[in-house]
Amino acid sequence: MTCLPAATDRKLGLVIDLDTCVGCHACVIACKGWNTQYHGAPLSDMDPYGPRPEGTFLNRIHSYEALPDDGGAAQMVHFPKSCLHCDNAPCVTVCPTGASYKRAEDGIVLVDEDACIGCNLCAWACPYGARELDRASGVMKKCTLCIDRIYNENLPQEDRVPACVRTCPAGARHFGDLADPDSAVSRLVAERGGFDLMAELDTAPVNKYLPPRRKDRLENAAPPLTPIASGGGLAGWLDRMLGGG
């Protein structure tokens, strides 16, 4: 089923606030824990206590520094990255077996692990590094948007969000329907100028990123302070502030 659906009823995805993410890796590990225990094959770790520990992760956080052109101080941005559930998902169409597919009802891009031959081509086709081949199981792993949480009737309604969103301490991750212009996530994107990653590749990602706000703009942000008794010394200060006395 590697043809992409012409349109999906909903576009479930994440909105990630780069102005709020502190880079704590909570989402990375919550994702690892949930997806090791539930959907599909566990996310394995090779050489976990050795010289080259290397595991499968569906969400990773990069940290970048930006040096402003105006000579200001360098700024750091923590940058979580997982599958963006693209409308034009190139990872889906390249799959030779139909293991990769995009769901018509909610737009989630999934891998049918029983059909995956582990050819890696979908990972090659993804510009974002969202897919990782699990070395123990030999199948391609990727963010499922916690499909086994968001519809899970064994979970309370409020917990039916991806594990990364539920755990994010700073509230930098938002989950919702980006096809609905009135959804909270769509409004956030509109208000804060949410953007696509590598838009030039026309993958039409569903996930959006909210840009960091401009930093280091303190000068002139508040009325300047002026001495109340310039030259008047302590006595002058007391008279002005406490009155004669």
Partner: protein, 933 residues
């Protein structure tokens, strides 16, 4: 076309067991999902007051901690030389017998021969009680090398501090200043709070040499030069005072600003009952500060004595505090300092927060509203781990007080049982008597020289020299000095060193290599200088190899614990709260919870408080103690579900208490009444509530201490007044540093070292490993497997560094060889690295060529507990002269470029692993196939 079917409703678990996380000091509530009796998945508890459902990376990685291959399995007795790691497994009976055989004789002869220090202990009210029963004065936890400056300055100034003591008013603040915070005990609440601030567009300012983490999302970054925070704060105070942008009403009502200062003694004027005296503005009469109906006069004077307020004005209006005069030293342009002061004033006074909540103050005045200054602060080790840290922390609290933002809406709020002024805390108890318990708790807040822990001959009574003239107000003890003092026999020799959860032969010590030598050093008879070492830990940490007897602890999911109001609880500003841990899984090893082992030892040693008059054991295990121990009648470790199950705070022990906690999600919470929610130190409703809850014995309203009188008492002693006199070589230093008004002085030895060691060197704990007990966690170690030394652009370019280069970093004490990397958002005179990534070869069940052991490194090798010799006959401690806090961040270094190396240096020889090595791969899945619906 059919799309494949995906299973969307798998069964999540058989059962959820709710307990408390122990991956750091944050103590979040966790939902442990169980499958087939094993831990399947850990998530945050949505109902929990600390974390409201969120959970950090460490918490979510708990499953790898509970199943870590580094877990100790059985008691161990050393068979090889100390430090080799050669052990034999023994039974618990043998282990307890051995421990008792060492402890019983010293208790009978001289209990001070035992030094009992606990590291990341979250049961200090219990371990302290045990040590008290044993009778040794030598007990403390890790606060002395952590942040005692912050705690002591806070208690002495405002009756509380940050982290467990209080928090920003996240819902109302409009401006938050973070001083020296990379990560904190309050790790999830800070992140949640920052998220709230960001969501409503409030401003966050980060003051930190390093721009990462919280400082990365701060709207404004002040890349301050280490050790100069106090200077910056006093400059902000100068600007605010000079412009008259301070809260005079608040100062007059709630602080000792209007209290009269006795010109001759420098002490506060007091009445016969000891109450500080003020002048009532309307009557002009001299009155005790708390007399109903009075309005204290900031400008009052009597008999030639004037107020603290005037002394303060004189001090901080002085032009030496002007931004222009501190800018260079701080590494911050004067204009930016002025802009920050202006922003503080603007946020505090132009946009006050008003809550429609009437309240009554301790003088009987009724206030219609709660008016607050929406500027809040949070600070941590960055400002406190300096030799000027105590005064810097005091300065920060003064700034908070001046703008009236402590315990006011939008500002900083205490969490019950705080506020609690120094006078409400005990003074230190230290008199050791053969076979007898100590008369009271070890740690406390000294009011003056009379409270110091000194022997009759004036020598320190404690092995760590806490509460001595070298560091009179060392409220958390000095764990980092114990081993070197015990090794040197200064002030005396000990017999047994008993440590819990403290990696003293590694990242918890300065001079790591030297400490290893001290632990293995022998006297002329071939006996170890420290004769016996008992160590308890759940994991094969670096310290294990240096113990003679190892008592294997349980992991946090296998034990009972209480996060008690007697200790540092988990309260929020709007509620008191405490919590438990309980065994959600059974240990699969022959291990016992350390607290239970202490009880078993106490029963063998027949320690008072643990056995009744007939010598019969009062408690079976720690759970029994948690439920049945009463510190005072009706007040026990847990506040919830007392008596018949409905009593709060005070009530008889309830045998069903732990079951009630478990049913309630592992915690208990009780709201602070709305009219008691702010202005707690002066709010009658709060004071009465606190007494009802058992947090205080009587209402105890108090004034914030702008002028800290205990400091003046020490200065007076140093000037020759009083019966208790400091040694002469300390007099001038006491006079210079123990100013009763906050001051700044350069970090010790800075002038001597600046030429040879031009750079500052710091560490930060990564959020994914902050305070967590070991980085052997299979998931977390992939995130931080080794640590580069980060260099600023200036240093990078000056030395011509390129990617992949290494460097030799040298301090006055030693040198290390390390990999380097560039960090542009960094103070130009500062280098830094992630702390405690480096591991000793052979520990933590890691391969000997694990990156932590090969590339990873510790900065500790560069830091000594003493300053370099200065030719004056004394070795001065590398710590704050007031509290003894380890001055980690005073470190000065120089750097040289090296070609790429294969391993960092010093590379220490491996130790034998008592637990073998971890498995070659993991594909963690418990229970039957998780996808089954």
């Amino acid at each position: 076309m059919n799309q494949p079917a995906a299973s969307t409703s798998p069964r999540v678990s058989d059962e959820i067991r709710r307990t408390t996380c122990y991956m750091c000091a944050c103590r979040c509530g966790i939902d442990v999902h169980m499958k087939d009796g094993r831990v399947a998945y850990i998530q945050g508890n949505r109902d929990h007051p600390v974390n409201r459902g969120v959970l950090c990376a460490k918490g979510s990685a708990g499953i790898m901690q509970v199943n870590a291959p580094s877990r100790l399995r059985k008691p161990l007795r050393r068979v090889g030389p100390r430090g080799s790691g050669a052990f034999e497994e023994i039974s618990w009976e043998e282990a307890l017998e051995q421990a008792a055989a060492w402890l019983e004789p010293i208790r009978r002869s001289d209990p001070s021969k035992l030094a009992f220090f606990t590291g990341r202990d979250q049961s200090q009210s219990f371990t302290g009680f045990w040590a008290q029963g044993f009778g040794t004065p030598n007990y403390a936890a890790h606060g002395g090398f952590c942040s005692v400056n912050m705690a002591a300055a806070g208690i002495h100034t405002i009756g509380g501090s940050f982290w467990e003591f209080g928090q920003p008013d996240w819902d109302h603040t409009r401006l938050l200043l973070l001083f020296g915070v990379a990560e904190d005990h309050d790790s999830n609440p800070i992140k949640m709070g920052l998220g709230k601030l960001k969501a409503r567009g409030a401003r966050v300012v980060g003051i930190n040499p390093i721009r990462s983490g919280y400082n990365a999302i701060a709207d404004d970054w002040f890349g301050i030069t280490p050790g100069s925070d106090g200077l910056l704060i006093l400059a902000l105070i100068h600007c605010l005072v000079e412009a008259g942008r301070i809260d005079l009403d608040y100062l007059a009502r709630y602080t000792n600003a209007p209290v009269l200062l006795d010109r001759a003694s420098g002490l506060l004027r007091r009445d016969d009952a000891g109450r500080p005296l003020v002048i009532d503005r309307r009557s002009g009469r001299l009155c005790p500060f708390d007399q109903p109906g009075i309005h204290p006069d900031l400008r009052g004077s009597e008999g030639g004595d004037s107020t603290v307020f005037l002394a303060m004005l004189q001090e901080y209006l002085d032009p030496r505090h002007a931004p222009e005069n501190v800018a260079e030293r701080c590494g911050i342009p004067a204009a930016r300092i002025r802009a920050l002061a202006a922003m503080i004033a603007h946020a505090a006074f132009d946009q006050p927060v008003e809550l429609d909540r009437p309240w009554t103050d301790f003088r009987g005045e009724v206030h219609r509203k709660m008016v607050g200054r929406p500027v809040s602060f949070h600070a941590m080790r960055g400002i406190s781990a300096h030799s000027n840290g105590f005064q810097t922390c005091r300065a920060l609290h003064l700034l908070q007080i001046l703008i009236g933002s402590v315990e006011a809406p939008g500002g900083f709020r205490f969490k019950p049982p705080y506020p609690k002024p120094a006078e409400a805390h005990p003074v230190p108890h230290f008199a050791a008597r053969p076979g007898q318990p100590l008369e009271g708790p070890h740690l406390g807040y000294v009011r003056g020289p009379e409270d110091l822990a000194l022997c009759a001959d004036g020598s320190p009574a404690r092995i760590d020299k806490a509460f001595s003239w070298e560091n009179p107000m060392s409220a958390h003890g000095l764990m980092h000095m114990v081993i070197s003092n015990a090794h040197a026999g200064d002030p005396y020799r000990i017999d047994t060193l008993f440590l819990y959860m403290a990696n003293m032969s590694w990242n918890s010590s300065m001079n790591t290599r030297g400490v290893m030598d001290m632990l293995t050093d022998r006297d002329e008879d071939g006996n170890y200088a420290i004769p016996h070492i008992i160590y308890s830990d759940a994991y094969s940490s670096e310290m294990v190899a240096y113990a003679d007897l190892v008592l294997p602890d349980t992991t946090y999911l296998e034990r009972h614990d209480c996060i008690s109001l007697l200790d540092r609880p988990i309260s929020e500003a709007d509620a008191l709260a405490d919590a438990i841990r309980w065994p959600v899984v059974r240990p699969d090893r022959d291990v016992r919870s350390f607290q239970t082992v202490l009880i078993q030892l106490a029963n063998r040693l027949k320690l008072p408080g643990f056995v009744d008059a007939d010598g019969a054991a009062m408690y079976r295990d720690y759970a029994d103690y948690i439920v049945n121990h009463e510190r005072k009648p009706g007040i026990g470790p847990l506040a919830g579900f007392r008596g018949d199950g409905t009593a709060v705070g005070r009530g008889a022990p309830n045998p069903g208490q732990i079951a009630r906690y478990i049913a309630n999600g592992g915690f208990f919470t009780h709201p602070v009444p709305a009219e008691a929610s702010y202005f707690k130190p002066w709010n009658n409703a709060y004071q009465d509530w606190a007494v009802r809850m058992g947090l205080a014995d009587k209402p105890q309203p108090y004034l914030f201490q702008i002028y800290c009188e205990p400091l003046a008492r020490f200065q007076n002693a140093a000037k020759g007044q009083g019966a208790r006199q400091p040694p002469d070589h300390l007099r001038q230093r006491i006079i210079d540093t123990m100013s009763p008004l906050p001051i700044w002085y350069p970090p010790f030895d800075e002038a001597a070292q600046a030429r040879d060691f031009p750079l500052h060197a710091l560490t930060q704990r990564p959020m994914a490993m902050y305070h967590s007990w070991g980085s052997q966690n299979a998931w977390l170690r992939q995130v931080h497997g080794h640590n580069p030394m980060y260099l600023p652009m200036q240093v990078w370019e000056r030395h011509g560094f390129a990617e992949g280069d290494w460097a030799r970093v040298t301090s006055a004490h030693g040198a290390i060889t390390v990999p380097v990397a560039l960090h542009q958002g960094l103070n130009g005179d500062t280098i830094w690295t992630w702390n405690a990534i480096g591991k000793r070869k052979g520990t933590w069940a890691l391969d000997e060529d694990a990156p932590e052991a090969v590339k990873g490194f510790l900065l500790n090798h560069l830091i000594h507990e003493l300053l370099p010799p200065r030719g004056d006959g004394h070795r001065w401690a590398n710590s704050d002269p007031i509290t003894g806090q380890a001055a980690w961040f005073d470190l000065r270094v120089r750097i040289e470029k090296l070609a790429p190396q294969s391993a960092s240096d010093p590379g220490l020889p491996p130790v034998l692993s008592p637990v073998g090595r971890g498995p070659k791969d993991l594909a963690w899945r418990v229970g039957t196939k998780g996808n089954a619906p």
